[in-house]
Structure formats: structure tokens, C-alpha cells
Symmetry: C2
Subunit: 697 residues, 2 copies
Amino acid sequence: MKHSLLLSSLADEAHAFETKSDAPILSRNLGMRAVKAALAAPRLAIEKVTPSVDEGRFAVKRIVGETVHVEADVFMDGHDSIAVSLLWRAADVTQWNKTRMVALGNDRWAADFPLGRMGRYLFTIEAWRDTWATMRGELMKKNEFQQNIALEITEAIEFIEQTAQHLETAHEGLKNLTLALKEASTAKQHDVLLALLLDEQTAAILSEVDHRPFLLRLDTLFPVDSERREANFSSWYELFPRSQGTTHENDHGNFDDVIARLPAIRDMGFDVLYFPPIHPIGMTYRKGRNNHPAATAEDIGSPYAIGSAEGGHDAIDSKLGTFEDFSRLLRAAEEHGLEIALDFAIQCSPDHPWLRGHPEWFLWRSDGSIRHAENPPKKYEDIINVDFYAGGINGPVAPNLWLALRDVVLFWVRQGIRIFRVDNPHTKPLSFWQWLIAEVRGKHSDVIFLSEAFTRPKVMARLAKIGYSQSYTYFIWRETKAELMQYLNELNAQPLCEFFRPHFFVNTPDINPWFLQRSGRAGFVIRAALAGLLSGLWGMYSGFELCEAAALPGKEEYLDSEKYQIKVRDWQQPGNIISEIALINRIRRANPALQTHLGLEFHNADNDQILYCSKSTANRDNVILIAINLDPFSIQESHVEAPLWKWGLSDDGELNVEDLVSGNRWTWRGKHQSVRLDPAVLPFLAWRITATSMRAN
Amino acid sequence: MKHSLLLSSLADEAHAFETKSDAPILSRNLGMRAVKAALAAPRLAIEKVTPSVDEGRFAVKRIVGETVHVEADVFMDGHDSIAVSLLWRAADVTQWNKTRMVALGNDRWAADFPLGRMGRYLFTIEAWRDTWATMRGELMKKNEFQQNIALEITEAIEFIEQTAQHLETAHEGLKNLTLALKEASTAKQHDVLLALLLDEQTAAILSEVDHRPFLLRLDTLFPVDSERREANFSSWYELFPRSQGTTHENDHGNFDDVIARLPAIRDMGFDVLYFPPIHPIGMTYRKGRNNHPAATAEDIGSPYAIGSAEGGHDAIDSKLGTFEDFSRLLRAAEEHGLEIALDFAIQCSPDHPWLRGHPEWFLWRSDGSIRHAENPPKKYEDIINVDFYAGGINGPVAPNLWLALRDVVLFWVRQGIRIFRVDNPHTKPLSFWQWLIAEVRGKHSDVIFLSEAFTRPKVMARLAKIGYSQSYTYFIWRETKAELMQYLNELNAQPLCEFFRPHFFVNTPDINPWFLQRSGRAGFVIRAALAGLLSGLWGMYSGFELCEAAALPGKEEYLDSEKYQIKVRDWQQPGNIISEIALINRIRRANPALQTHLGLEFHNADNDQILYCSKSTANRDNVILIAINLDPFSIQESHVEAPLWKWGLSDDGELNVEDLVSGNRWTWRGKHQSVRLDPAVLPFLAWRITATSMRAN
């Protein structure tokens, strides 16, 4: 930097400034607009608002009946007191509820609000300088140090009088206060005056009538989605209706066969029963068994090849039954405490009515064909996709496609369906889902969408942000203790914990996990225990309870996949794990800590084959300790540390626990415990902490 | 949930939908606006942009000449290719520079841009579907799997032809490509066609002429402040001009005395020389020695009681000299490589000209007085503050005060001052500083503001966010290894690392640190080494080099504070640490890794009294290992781990190092080293890594 040039005219400059030359006045006028804007800019700062997703761009997810705990950093220059309010309301009403936030220290403020019903809520924060709290604080402090406060008392009375004068409607309490102050003032009763000014009641009155100088309200309305309990906690069972109640592979099952299966499914403790698509299946390029490109006359095709001469997404495959049959199934399921979830797969067979009725919804190639689904070298000739931007972004065509797809969902909502598992949502526009889910949930806040996106992590997260209540996860490929801990910790941490509800499927019709292909029966129990005890949402595809694992050689796929053929099963087949699944679901139902993936904490176990953790409700009224042997082949033992410090206990404290498998109760003494888990018997244990006490030495 | 009611009309509903009753059509019309908005909504997503402060609300801070490394998550539904561009420009030009970002994996994209000059820069990001990359990728993949690609080739040629047709101005390369394709097509040269389509050159042409479908550009312009090097790296020396060159306490020093001191200050290696206020000092309520409420005729008063009949913030205390004298001092300082920093303290003595000239800038109490500064029970009767909101938020009065304060800064800028240390900024409105700094730096991008805010962490951080280049810190109270590590790690981490430049003062006229009051000489060297080797910015207040520590009993304040009296010193006093300070500053100047607080990493040392760390430049061309004994009383020894893994070396690798104290060079073998630091000799060591080699076993 060169000072020399600047310095040459130093004396002149000083003179010009002192004599108020034109130059500063000119700059003064030019800068007036900026300085007025700065004067009107917020004096207070509100930041780091929680809970929030991307600074309020997306909703945090909660369950109806819960309380939302809001915090924010709020501060102002100087040392004056400030007041902070939380404003909250359901999105469909206009009136804000207001709750004063309390200071937690270090400029952090907090307040709670309740989610009284389902649907979207909004909250925001406002803050202002609390003039009376500032004056009162100064009075108290100076009085404490026995300083002269005559002037401060005069000013306080003046402030109260001015506040009263500027009120639009008179305030009874304030009027009485003013009179009392005047009386004491006239009588020169210094002590009475001071007592009145420092009174809690006075503070309460002035808080009510405060004109709130420097009021700042955040522009951002932070959204919270309040959903029903099942969004966070449910146990899913997936089946192909056409395989139910069959005795041989050409015997097509129907909805009545599903009704007959309901008691067994319910006895295993499931509460959601989910079907792959139930619509008519196309004939053109129909796939044979094991995805064979040429189907025989007997082949029934993949239910994901939606649409035939019978109809499309708003029709039911006549082999499964009529709408009346479907309605009877829904009633029966409800009677058994089961809710039906349907698949929403936006794709068509070449025979779908939309191809003739709405050719403009598809992208036609130069040879007159439509591109079929493919992932080179794989081809799915029986499936073609609509073009979400057919006709261009603002073209006249696409809106009708989008509306038609929304109306398909609303159609099934009208049939009584409230849960949709959405097939491959990541291959459809994110903005489409954001709009569709908002449209549907705006009218029916009890509708739940599950995102079946096995794709890159950021796309999966975004699908959850834009409205999916639940998401498929990488759980199915997390096998080792390190992998499971890393993944579960990530799901429990910011930012995912606010909006991403993981659904732990142990298998799907598409995924025959490597682990289960080689693990044998114990492996199935291990995976069920991991999913069922660590996540509020878990699911299995039927056959899992029979430990089915026959695979296409070298592939993570089922041999003789049920996607292309009917599967005949003996539901009481020896070696099944039905009772273990029922046990896991029973433990889940009885323990709120297990009804979410949150509240998880891993603890020390010195054996890498033993996963050891606790799950706790937010208020700690339900705390479960869990140990799972990850090794399906061998007995594993481990020293484990009971986390006594969580209860403020010393290392030799005592915990009363209930074994959730046996129902036995006993007392643990000291933090050093050990577990021994035999996968051939039961590869997991779970204990509920029933009471704690300090050990008397 | 009750299904029953819904189910009663199920069959009717189904019928209505199938026969296209009025209801869906009505809902279709009503929803058209929302669906069109959704169709026009971004198809791509851009998020988690770095570097940024509060999602772009505030500027990140960098130094001119540096490169800014920008990253973002960018993704779209499905599997098509996307393209991402970084747009960047200086804030005062309108033309964007564009740089293609490269994919790092996991949907993360990156690009760099240079800061060519000082001032504010802006950047943002745009992205779109890359149609050609998508088509080309499919061609390559299908060709690899030897699938029939005749149709794909036809479509690719069609796409290129359509692109050419829709171009506003013809593109030579595209024209030639189209001709070549036509020729090969006519000649049915399949291989030539494919080669042309897969050619890199073709990709480059189509990237140029791409019409960028689904283009999304972020609304947010992310600001970057490009400042001069001294904003990040400088060594400050603070002195009271009136104490310079004096031989007894009534001998008032002046600017010429400061000129005489310049060589000694420069020889210690400092580059910024900072003065407390140099303005006329008020007489009313002037403070005596040691802040005594009654001054004698000899008392010179606190320079923070600004303003007298002589003038206010735009005047110089005549005892220090004239503007001409000041100008001569600035020239002399520049010749010595020293830059002068002034204090900007917005406060007045009761004698300040503003009280008479602008009574409307002050808040007058009902007894006709103005509130003096106080912090009960402490009183500062010699200082009163202006009222930033006098006249109300939108009143006519306050703007002139704000403009006058800005003009005080601009006045001193015209005198050649480019660094302002701002006194107690946290007691003035945050929006005032944001405006003032923007006004000043908008015209003079080389101006540096240092925030002297010893207050709550969030207020300190916000002052840095709104424009302060540098900030006082809690360093002065961080004494133990754990405290230092915690604090330095926090300063090195997000979010602070992007905008908060810590200035490590080892003492100030107001703070006589507890540690130094009991540590003796070695403690002064320890604190200088900590500040000088760990932070790019450090400073000391004169007397520190003489190990002055006499305190007011039981207080963290100096006895006979120089704020209220002239201090006579022997600058060559025995036991001074001038040579150690010069050594530290010499090491700083020679090593870029020490010219910032960033790039710090702590390493293992098994002794809690030995702080052991490395500092590295971003490109690792300068790496310094540092060990400091925190114990001023005893020799401390420690095993330390040389971080060989940072150079990919095995635990028995070799490092060539230079001892920066002695200049000696040698080779370390193996990661296990030990240090022994005698505080009576020199409590720190620093080594520069000069070369590395793998040990041949």
C-alpha cells in the first residue's frame, strides 16, 4: 500500500472536513438511502433455528401428539434484555399461537409446542428489546449496590405512564398500577414505589402491553409435518396375493385367499400388509419365469407390467377379484388390525390403455416405438415409462399426465388405501413428487408414502425431504458391526434424523441378500432382530419366515422369482422362524423405545460379532438394552459395559432389568457384565431397565 | 383410522372415476395452476454449497491472490448426465465468468476461481441436463455390449441436426460435423458414423452449443471478501504515544517521540503499530491515576474520554502534535515497513463538541443529564455514549449521527489510515457496523477493521460475519493444553474458519492476564510463542516485552494503568524478551504456514504440559512442527509422535527437518521422538520439514 499519494493533501483534507466543505455534505445526501435502510434493518439477530431442514426449505417430520422443541440463537448488541416468542400454527389456519421462549444461556432460547392433529404445522420466531426487563434489572442491580436510584425510579414511572398513554385500548391492570404509583409518588413513599416497580405483577403487566421496540420476526416459516403414528412405527409384511392359498403353480390365488391368510400374518405381529401392483398385467413382451424374454401361454407375467385390455392403474386384475372383493378384503384386514398398503408403480405395459388414449404422454422414437425400460445390458421389454416432460416444460400436454397420476393415487385413497409404497421414485422428477405428495396430503393428511429408492444417498435424502414419510435404506447391505454402527449413527444424527425415516426391509422380491444366501436359519433371525429392534419401521417379504434363500447363481436375486410366477409354500414348514418374528414384534409393541430408529446409543462390547446398544425414549421412561450376535454360525461371548452412567450410577451401581425374551427379572450389579449368544438357540437378547439404585458400599 | 365410512361408497367411486364424472374434471381444473408451477419448478437440485456462511447470507473471507475452491451437491432424478457450471465475478462488474465444475463422485461437484484483486466477489452455480453426454454414454455402453444401436445412431444424428437448426448464430464446427455425418450416413459407413459420434471433438462442440434443458441457476449469490494479506497475517505492537521517549511521568510524549521508537519496534519484527485514541481528552469528570474519580491538575485523563474544546473524533490532541506531525509519523512508519492502526472508539467525554453541536444525538434524562457509561457497581463518569436510535427508528435525527460516524472513518482514511481497531463494537448496533463497513470498504477495499469485542461467542461471531476482518478472542484466557486445543480446533473448524480471523493479543492495556501475573519471564515467552506460532494475527501491548505484570490487587488489571497516566520505561531493561519476540516474528515471516491460524493439527504428546502440533499451508509446501512447554516453572519432557503418515511414510520412515531456532538441520528416524523444553532457556521449538523419504528396510 502506498500512503505517499494520500498523505500529500492531508492538511487540506483535515481543513475541508472541519469547515464542512461541500464534499462531505454531498456524500451525506447520496448515502441517505443506504443509511435509512441500515437504520430500519433488524437490530436483533435470530439464527440457528432448530428443528429445521435446510434452513426451513423442507419440513421436519414428527408424529401427532408429540411436542416440538424449538430452539434458536437470539441476541442483540449491548447488554439490554430481550424477549423472544415462538409463533406456531397449523398451516391451514391463519391465527398464530404465541409462546414466550426461555433463555437457556449462551444466547440460546427454547420453547415447545404441541402437535394436536395431523397435517402441516408452521412455526417462526420473533424477538424484541424488552425495555421493562432492562429497566427493572438496572433498578434491582443498583438497589443491591445501594446506589442512588431516584432518577431511575422517575424514569421507570415515566416509562409506565407513557406506555399507558400510547395504548390503543386501556388496560385495567396498567391503569391501577399507574394510580398506585402516583399515590406513592405523591406521598414520597420511596420504598413503596420501589416495591411496586420491582413487583412480578408489574413485570407481567408491562410484558402484556409492551410496544416491542426493534421487533424482528423471521420471514421463514419453518414447516413441521405431523403424521400418524404408523408413519414412524409399523411392521410390514409383503405378499403376492396371487400366491396365497394355492396348492400348485398354476392355481392363481385371489383376494379371498389373502383373507384366509390374515390371522396368520396378524399372529406374527405385523400391522401393515403390502401388495405389489394388483392391476391387470400386459401381454405384449410378457416375461416368462425367471425373467425369460419369451412367455408361454401359462405364464402370468410380472405385476409391474401394468395395464392390459382390462384396464390400467385404476383397475384390478380380474384374476385377483373385483372391487367388491377388494373392499371385502379391506374390511377383513381392518378387523384383524391390519392395514393394506398398495404399490404405486408409474409404468406401463405396452398394452396399457394410456398408450392409445394418451399417446402424447409417451416419447415415441423415430421408428414408431417407445423406449422400454433398460439398464444395459439388462432389458425390460414388458415395461415402458411415461415422459414427465412430454410437450416441453411449459407445453400443454404434460399437466394432464401429472394430474392423471395424482388422480390414480386419489382414486385408491377413495377406495380406503392410506399407505403407498412407491416404486423407483428416483427415476421420476423430484418436483413431481413434491407436488403430488403435497396435493394428496393436503387433502388426506393420514396418507403415508414409502420411497422405494435404492440409489445414491443424496437423492434418497432429497426424496425424504420433499415429502416421503418413509424410505427404503442400505440396511439390507449392512452386515458387519462397524457397518451397522456407522449407518445407524448416521441415521440418528443431523441432518437425517429430522426428516429421513428408515424402513428396514430384511428382503424384497428383488433382493435375496447375500448374507441370507449363506447364513441358514440363524441368519434370518439375526436380520429380523436387527431390523425389528433397531428401527421403528421394518418389513419382510413373504418366504423370509420360511428362510427361503434359493438364488439365481451368482446373483442377489431369488431363483424362480415370484415376480414372474406363482409360488406354492407350506407356511408351517419345519425350520420356520414364525415364533421368533412374533416375539420380536411383541417386544416392539410393548416398548416405545423400539418404535423409532432414534434414541439409539452404542455401548462397549469387546467382541466384534456382538452388537450392543441401548434405545431410549426421549423422556427415558422406556430404556431397552439390546445384544445381537451377528455371527450365524458360532456361539459368541462378550464382556459388555452396562451404561450405568446414563442413570448417574457409579461403576458398581445396580440396575433392575427384565429379560424381554423370557420375562424374567433380576438385578445387575456393576457395569461389567457379559453375554453369551448361541445363534442356534436365539441370537439376540433384550432387557428393559425397570429400576435403578445406587449401590450402598 | 376408520376405513368403514370410506368403503361404503367404494364401488360408486370406482364407477365415477371410470366414467369420467364431473368431480375429477373439476379437481383437474382447480389443480392446473399448482401442477403448472410444479412442472416449471427446478428438475435439478443444487445444495450444500461451500464455501459459504449461513447459506450465503454473509461473506466468506479470503486473501487476494488466493484461489477459491467451490463445491456443491448437484443431482437430478434418474440416470441422465448433468452438467454444472460455476459462475463468478467481482461484485462491481456485471459479466459472469463461467467454469465447468467436475464431478468428484457421490453427486459432489467442484471448481476453482481466482481472486485477482481486493474487494467483494460473488459466485453462484448453474446446472442442466447434459443431453449429449447422456446419448453418448448410452451409445458407448450399448456398443460395448454389442447391442443393436442403429436406432440410437439415428436419434443422435437427429439431435445434432435439430441442435444446429435451433442455433441463433451458426457454429462452424457444428456445421462441419453435420456435413460429415450426412456424408457417412449416405455412404452407410456405420463405423465412421459411430466414430464421429463418440469423438471427443464432437462432445466439445455439442457442449458449446447445448441449449441446456432444465437449466437451474441458484438465486443466491455467494459473497467472498478478498482482502489484502495483512488482514490475515500481521504482528501488532500497541503503544500510548504520550508515554514514548519520556524520562519522567509528567513528561508528555508526542509523535516525534514515536518516530524515534520506530526502529526498535521494527527490529522486533512487528508490522502494525497501533495507538489508543489520539484525540483531545475531556476535562469534565476526568479520571485520575488508577481510575480515581477525582483528577488532579496534573492528571492527563483517559484517551477513551474523547473530545474537548480542542475538538472531537476528527481532531488530534495538541500535546501529541499537529496533523503535520502526524503526517510525518505516517511517512516515517512507512519507511520502516510499519503501518499505523488507529482506535475507533464511538464515545464522548462530556466536553465533546457533539454535545453542543448535536444534542439530538444523545439521550437526555429527565434531570437534564446524559447517562454515563457504567456496569454496576462500576461507573465511568468521564465517558458518555451516543444514542444510535435517537429520534426513533425512522426519525429524522439518527441518520446524521450514523453518517457522521462513517465520515470520521473516511476522514482518517483520507489521512492515510487503513487499519481501525474498533473499541467495544458489541455495544453498538450490528446493522450499524454492517452498513459502515460496507460503505467504507466499498470505496476502500484495503481498509481493515479489527473488532475489540470481548463478549458472548455468538455476538463475537456475528460481528465477524457482518464485515470485521479480524476479531479479538478468548485466547488471553486459554492457558491449559486442553483449553488451547479445544479453542484452536473450534477456530479451525466450520463455521468459524470461513469468516472469523482470530487476533491473539497476549495482553492489552485493560487486561493484565492472571497467567502472566504469576508466571515470570518464561510465561511471557510461552504466551508470545503460542500467539505468534499458532495464529496469523498476534499482538502485544508495550511493556509485555519487559515482562511487566504489576497488578491491581486481586484484579486482572495493571497497577498504575497507562490509560490514566504516562509510563516511563527502560526499553533495554534486564530480563526483557525482545530477542525472543524478534525470533518468533522472524520465524513467522519466513514460513507461510504460520501466517494463518488455519492448517493446524494437534499431534500426540504424552505430557499434558507440552502442546505439540503441526501447521501446514494448503498445498503442503510449508509444514512446521511446533512444541511448546506450557509450564513456565519446570523443564518438561515428552514422547511425541512425528506425524509421518501425513507424508505417506511408515512408522519407521525418515523426515529431514530444520530447527527454526538454531538453523540446524538433521534427519528424524521413526515416528517416536522426544522433546525436552526448559522454560528458563526457551520454552518452545519449531521445525520445518525440508524433505521426506521412505526408509529402506
